[in-house]
Symmetry: D4
Subunit: 250 residues, 8 copies
């Protein structure tokens, strides 16, 4: 409904190429499909460069299946996060092409091929307990068409493991940096590289960790520059931001 | 001290081009200068692509002056944030070229010219009370060599002011989005554009705002994708991240 | 025991129409019925214009059944919130007219017909995960005699879905606005309409959502005017307030 | 920019009554005036039924003066909240009609007369320390054209003071209920009346009051129905909501 | 080991009535019995006027049985709180006299009779969901030898239920006042009576109740005098304090 | 307005001893005096056994003076807490008998003599920084007619200072126990005595003390029985509760 | 990769004793072994004086088995914390020497004998519910080669139990002090001894305990000197610190 | 009053070497001196190996002077923390030997010489803003007789500054590690050394730093072993613990 679209529709309508009701229709009904319990936002691909993603948690397998198939049938790639094996199985019944990444809790259906980026997103995780979040980030980034490189278990308590990888790390175009507990990793990495870092606090820890609060606050207060932060355990969100950034360089 | 540097120094040393102590010296003493109360990290420009920035709050005018002049004399551009008028005046005594941006609380000395980027960073702020943070972001980004465009007072309580600017907003390569109170602006902007957004919560508000907590939590929980967050009132940090991202596209 | 009742009883008693003990009795024993484990507040309908509502959570099916039947037998409509299927089944045994709204977790028995209001309460929800709270609000409002219109899945990440409904939304006399995560919806809606809005934060989200805290704080700090807030997930409370407001216009 | 306006402008444009650019202009430039450091939202009166209100805190006297005079000169009533005596004095220089309510910290200029409502908003406050917030609510409501009745110092520690006023209280169409400390007043009032209540927690108290948190949580968790809540100390917001509700009955 | 005991033992020892080691032994080993995994504090009855109470949560049925039987065999009354049915059954095997109060989650064995106090402790609870905590308080107080009177379901949302009982309430020597949600009951009761009140917040509620925090803060900030507070859901602690107070008047 | 009063007034009215309006008047207007900005609750002395206390913080010297003189002229003792020297000076102008306790921040005027209790309230404070709160408690208790004994600077870091006083401490009828920082004192004292303890956390400390939160939580979670808690720094409230308890034994 | 190693490798390489690639290899690949899902940090024993410890929570039995066997086969003692019986059983299959401490939730395999220290670590716990944490601390300390002495159930509510042990306690070289609820024990012990104390808050308690927050804050704010604190329930961490301290004295 | 003292006094008393009252006197009155507003704990030096330290904040210059002089006159070294220049000046009037460390906010009077330890305490601070806390730690440690080495401005954002000092750092017997903001320094240092670390979070930072909470939580959740934590900004407490540890090795 913004200026350029407006001008275009106004002109066509003036010229009699479209009717009044059609003009209104176009302006209004184009961007989403109402399937009863949800409104699928097809316009999102236009606005954001990537189709709507299904957040499966809290949705029934049947709901996920329905939304996914509507999207798939319109030629859209499908990406579902926080998906359980049940969501996958429901989808599997009607679609052979569905894939399930269990550690990452992701389901995907590929409708059209995506060229991989030349620029690489580095996914760096502090500990093995952070892997589900790291894999959510890595798989999301891959499914969004990015080249991805994983560097895991390089927490700062044994900093030589990280320093040992530093040349590799310096090649990344953007870094997703994942840590729980004291959340120091993005600060240390941020001091060593010159690319943007998306930091992801995880809820790994106990006691005064307060379900990820310690890592979250540490990352928000990082004394390294170039670090921005997403929600606790939000591997998907980090990958989405990283992908937008990575594609700037293509 | 990483692999490539290591190989280089090892080779030179083997070839007798440098002595043992020199090799150690190079590996160790190159990266910073110890001026007593501080260690200036000249290596940072190599690592991060931008010289160390002076955080003036909590430093005396004399300390800031000293650090700034050491940097300036080595040919480095100087950027000081959270600077008071007193920091500026101390610096003014010894350096004519120093500039003070009072709303942004920034001091700068230009040692070498910086070419402006083609890509534009959009700085979008919700209310007039958010301006100090917005200006800290905008001025920092400019001093780091970015083309910057400001769009202020477009809070979501009067959303037509924002929608009216949407075509302009869609041209930005990366957006810094600043809001206090309920912090809804990055979510709304994030739903409308396809570029990465750095969200900055401000401490503007009262009562259950809890000094910016409400905006911070809202931004971390944004239902829009592509939004990452920096600390409350951290305009500088947002600009730094945005600048790293913007330069990927140059 | 308030002034008018006082005058009335005093006059009757003076005139010998009632005895001393009766006067005291009337003043004291009229307002509730003690059924052992609970005191049913029949006077509430007089004071509030609607009978007491049974909050079923933490009550056994047997307790709910007993309270409900006592009320029903005195000709009162029955409304039970946060009811499980077990509460419903217990009630079903003794009363055919009981209805169960599973998504809304509400049970109801209609003792007397309620005329629908002319004014419409709009129930606007951001995401499909917010539906249980939204339905609790919508069903409660309907059972309290209001005309209700639901507009679901119009979260601000795809704001055209909301703008597309704006003419419809502007017809509502009062709006219940429901959102989790960053809780931005009431602020955006509040900027577009001129009717009172009751905002309901939901506990939908994870990490720094802190079980609804992010949406709660965002709504309390809304920069839009005309927005007041109820407890997290409190669809019932929002409907109650909205119904009181809606009936002012009848 | 919504459907009806769209239809109207489209029709006029089709009929040649307005030009293409004019149509775009109307759709875009009508709603606000850009005065450099702020965008005055004149369209707000259309949308919300009341002109934009100036939140003075954090604005300089000069800024407030400029915004206020722009509004006043276009025939709009002016209402400024959280105004200091300095804001008032700046405005006084250029406008004789400005009034200052010091306890309520409000400035106003009356451009056009407002008829008082028949329905009455009751402003009920628990203690004398709550008066600044209560007055902000009461004065705002009056300036928005409402009949207002104040009942102060009726905290629940001496409940007979409240019960004594109950007949009066029962006549109100909507109640603003203000309390600090344990914030029990709205719950007790809510149990006695059948009209909607807007509860305002104040920051009055100390220690575990945590600047109003205790009253805020108490009000959000009220066991009385019909109570919704605004931000701590937000007398203005309560009055705005109450005014929207009160006018439904006119 | 305090002055009087010291004088006594010193004198006896000087007079040769006891040996050096015995003197030391008496001073040291008298006050508790070490049964391996626990040290039973028999001296507590001397210090506090009531034997040690067994907090069963987190102890195995076997541990509780062992501690209880050690105490019982030494002639001590036994009181166990937060006891599950399993704790009771383990004790039942070895002791016929054990009693279980399931709503209060208390087990007791009576070794010696306790005379009831003349003064009465009133246990006043706001809602039926608060009953487990109320019963923990009431049963504890009774087992400690107090006369107890229960007044339940008199929450302030229907204040006539409370006012109707006021003459009865005014006869209590000390009141235990229990409420969840907004926790207003102790404040209202505290405004009506002249005896000390022990307030118990319960974790009843949801959302911004934060597991009893809202009621706890409200009670700590009560504007009524004479109210002191114990931990959330701590019916036992309230009864203990109330019993100490009640016995002052015997 | 409760049953007995009701019976009394009803009987008198029936017997023609009082008129209808007088009956209503008596029932309504007796309990307080409205002096414009406040409603003085004279009935409180009847209900609570002690006149209303003036909380001076947030009241102007003029307001305090006016309330105090109204009370004093009706023969009521006056007690004002959190009073500054300015409150005292305002009162001093019109009343010679006013006394100021500067450490306790209390003003008092004695209208009638109060007999001291036989039972003693012990005021035990951990450190010298806790003295203002301790003195507020001690002076309040004395002005309410209690015998008071102070034991200061006996924090648990040097526990022999406390144990040395134990015989004295064991003579108290009720104890007010005051501590900041880790707030351990009431737990240790509670383990040694058999009388009720009112614990007062103070805001003394820094860092993770969070303005008294650490002491407050510690006291609420005390493993000693017989400890109840008042708000942070609330010496007055502790004294009020302690006084009510102490007088049970007279 | 630090100076001495650097000098050593440089010299050898210069002297032709090692090749360029070998030099790089040594500097890089020595410190850890990459087994796919984890990088085992063998260098840690050199740096810290104790091999890496396996935190079992969140790792599968298979993962724990694999890491443990890799370590064991290289002659390293194995210590696994937060181990369930399943971790133990998986390890038991392949290694007879594995031991399981169920209360402490620890698994260990002894590869080489460790001499016990002469200095003793005292593990002092307040209540029986704190035993799992206390045992985690005690067993860890023992497996790290320390002499350990346990003193349990000496909470400050019965302080004579603690004072009775004071001579024994005064012999410890370092103390681990464990308590939940109000967390007062380290403060009292800290006032009595002259050795360093590591305080461990436990999550034992309910209500305003907030999962150990009350004890944590109390310990951080201890008025006793010589007390430092580890995370809630972190018996392992306390033992590690205590062991490092204890070995200073050997 | 503990076993050995007991035996000793008992024996002397039995043997007639001391009288009954003297025995009691010795047991009771030895350990402290009551100077009215405070009880000076001379026994502390016996128990803790260091005299009582004066926490000056919240004490008047006169009080500090009096306590200090009482101690000094009894031959005790005096150490006062959080001292302002006013405390110093008051003391200076009566004692020439007093010294003031302004950055550390410490006053001291040396009554007897202290031999320096052979073992060195390293005080490592992240940034120049952390210096007041670092100096409080360093000066305290020195005044307690320790050899101290300062390493400042080695925050992890430029990790080469830290690595460059690693050989020096590895020589320390115990480390005090000070950082604000994200508090990562102790974790990184903890991964590199084998000595105990006392971590001190500082309140340096802004926004989501929440006055040191971010650094505090990060340090409590450190993934490095051997790190224990003291209160925010508590340089004194860290030095006290470090000194106790350091002296174990002498």
């Amino acid at each position: 409904m913004y200026e350029k679209t407006l001008k275009d529709v106004l002109t066509k309508y003036k010229d009699g190429m479209i009717e009044l009701n059609d003009a209104i229709n176009i302006l209004n009904h184009l961007p989403y499909e109402d399937i009863g319990f949800a409104k699928i936002d097809y316009n999102r691909e236009v606005r954001k460069g990537f189709p709507e993603v299904i957040y499966c948690e809290g949705k029934t397998p049947k709901q996920v299946k329905e939304i996914a198939m509507h999207m798939f049938e319109r030629g859209s790639n499908v990406l579902g996060t926080r998906a359980s094996i049940k969501h996958y199985e429901a989808l599997k019944e009607v679609c052979d092409d569905v894939k399930y990444y269990d550690l990452a809790r992701i389901i995907s259906i590929k409708a059209e091929d995506i060229t991989k980026t030349k620029g690489v997103i580095g996914v760096i995780a502090a500990g093995t307990s952070d892997l589900p979040v790291a894999e959510e980030a890595a798989v999301t980034a891959e499914l969004m068409g990015n080249s991805v490189k994983r560097i895991y278990d390089v927490g700062v308590a044994g900093i030589h493991r990280l320093l040992n990888k530093i040349d590799e790390i310096r090649e990344f175009r953007v870094i997703i940096c994942i840590a729980g507990m004291e959340g120091a990793l993005p600060t240390v990495v941020g001091g060593l590289v010159g690319c943007p870092i998306i930091a992801v606090p995880t809820s790994i820890g106990y006691g005064a960790n307060f379900h990820g609060l310690s890592a979250l606050l540490a990352m928000l207060n990082s004394c390294s520059s170039g670090v921005s932060v997403v929600n606790i355990d939000n591997g998907f969100g980090a990958a989405y931001s990283a992908s937008l950034i990575n594609k700037i360089g293509e």
